[in-house]
């Protein structure tokens, strides 16, 4: 009798133990793989969110699940539920990507729902993940370093290689237009050298007389031909000057202007 009682007790406990493993509470996690925390965007960017999910135990048919994304904007917006696109991955559809209208720190939240595919979410989200991103003012910024100097030159001579200025876009969006222009060399007390005596190229060591390789500077803006000039992009611009024969001696100066835009 006592043995039978022990067997029953052991059976009950063993069943409970096995049951606790086999019929454990289902595991549900959702992850945001893009964007990542700390990533920066501008108010011109269309932000896409994507990630994955793990579904273990219970109903593991991924087609029964979906993810809703909340963008952390003000007023906040939530995309419609995105059914899992494949085996436990998801991405916001292009029409549901988000363009932020204001700058600042934003928290993107992804919530995994079981009944999402039906269009209603009567039960709480089964898993949640958030990432923090930064929305910046879109800026394009141009620097040109250093100033140029050809040094003393004699009439009829041409300057050598290696005289350049480096352009750099230190902003966070592309520069879409980038032009170069100049004015005549002006001598203190009168006298000029035509603006076109200065030529430029994007590669060092070009022949001054090669009209294709080296372009004469003009008073009207001419595209440098390097747009879009991406953020963090660098470009050296090399210059050569030929002083005309019989040019009167004196101190000459010239102004060169780089004009940029990001409309």
């Amino acid at each position: 009798m006592r043995k039978l009682f022990d067997i029953i007790i052991i059976s009950i406990i063993t069943s409970a133990l096995v049951g606790s493993i086999v019929f454990a509470q289902p595991a549900r996690t959702v992850t945001i793989s893009s964007p990542t925390s700390g990533q920066t965007f501008t108010t011109l960017d269309s932000v896409t969110a994507s990630g994955g999910a793990t579904i273990t135990g219970g109903d593991t048919n991924y087609e029964h699940y979906g993810v809703k994304v909340t963008w952390g904007d003000t007023p906040d917006l939530t995309t419609p539920c995105n059914p899992l696109a494949s085996d436990y991955t998801w991405t916001t559809s292009p029409s549901n990507n988000h363009v932020y209208s204001a700058t600042g720190s934003k928290t993107i939240t992804a919530k995994l729902y079981h009944t999402c595919v039906t269009g209603s979410e009567p039960s709480p989200a089964e898993a949640t993940q958030t990432v923090d991103i930064q929305i910046l003012t879109p800026l394009c910024t141009l620097s040109a370093i250093p100033d140029l100097a050809f040094g003393p030159m004699n009439p009829g001579t041409t300057s050598g290689d290696g005289i350049s200025t480096a352009l750099h876009n230190t902003g966070n969006v592309n520069i879409n237009t980038l032009q170069i222009s100049g004015v005549n060399w002006q001598k203190t007390g009168g006298g000029t050298i035509p603006v076109g005596a200065t030529k430029w190229a994007l590669i060092d060591g070009q022949n001054y007389d090669d009209s294709v390789a080296m372009k004469a500077l003009t008073t009207s803006g001419v595209s440098l031909g390097i747009t879009p000039f991406a953020k963090d992009a660098y470009q050296d611009v090399f210059f050569k000057l030929r002083v005309p024969n019989d040019q009167s001696a004196g101190d000459y100066t010239q102004q060169i202007t780089f004009t940029f835009g990001c409309d």
Binding site: I10, T36, S37, L44, S46, V47, T56, P146, A166, V173
Partner: protein, 202 residues
């Protein structure tokens, strides 16, 4: 290629150290001002001086829209601070629509370089559109930007979702605890049984 880029970066960094930084920036996108005949409206765009000294930029307008615009002639820019350029557009009552309802122009902001044999100037160009509803001018429909988002830093995602027993890393310990409780229970039962005095039938 990497060496070339590294060299360029190092060169720029060196030049930034030995000379004053010289960089002018502006906010992206055109300025669009909707105003009707006989009215005035305004907008703005931002300029930023990424140098290390306060500068004064000269501002001017060109193109068809210039005659209708009012802008500051100069603007002082302190380092690293976005400063707005106010742009006011006035369409006089006498405007006959000869330029249409969408009048385009440009605003230029010039940062002049240091005087020398060759002075390098940086000039920001901002497109301005004056839209006059009476002559068909209207704001464009919103469009989805095509610019690819850029990543500058990366970091760990913060997971706040719950984790169940199955995926819990403490699962082995949980099972171990259950097994331990089970054996303690059995042993204690056997112990209880072993010390239980036999009942004496009277």
């Amino acid at each position: 290629m990497k060496i070339k880029k590294l060299f360029a970066t190092t060169t720029i960094a060196f030049l930034l150290c030995v000379s004053s930084v010289f960089a002018l920036g502006m906010t992206a996108g055109p300025v669009m001002i909707v105003t009707d005949v006989g009215s005035t409206n305004s907008s703005y765009f931002g300029l930023i001086n990424n140098g290390n000294e306060t500068i004064t930029v000269k501002i001017r307008a060109e193109g068809d829209a210039a005659q209708f615009l009012e802008i500051p002639a100069t603007l002082e820019l302190v380092p690293k601070k976005l400063t707005n350029v106010d742009v006011k557009a006035t369409i006089p009552s006498a405007y006959d629509g000869s330029l249409g309802g969408n009048i385009t122009g440009f605003i230029y902001a010039v940062q002049e370089g240091a005087p020398g044999q060759v002075q390098i100037n940086i000039q920001a160009q901002k497109t301005v559109q004056i839209l006059i509803p009476k002559y068909g001018g209207k704001l464009p429909e919103p469009k989805t930007p095509t610019q690819t988002p850029v990543q500058t830093t990366t970091g760990e995602n913060r997971i706040t979702g719950f984790t169940s027993l199955v995926s819990n890393p403490l699962l082995p310990f949980s099972i171990g605890a259950v097994v331990l409780v089970f054996f303690v229970f059995v042993i204690s039962r056997r112990f209880d049984i072993s010390i239980k005095p036999k009942e004496v039938k009277k």
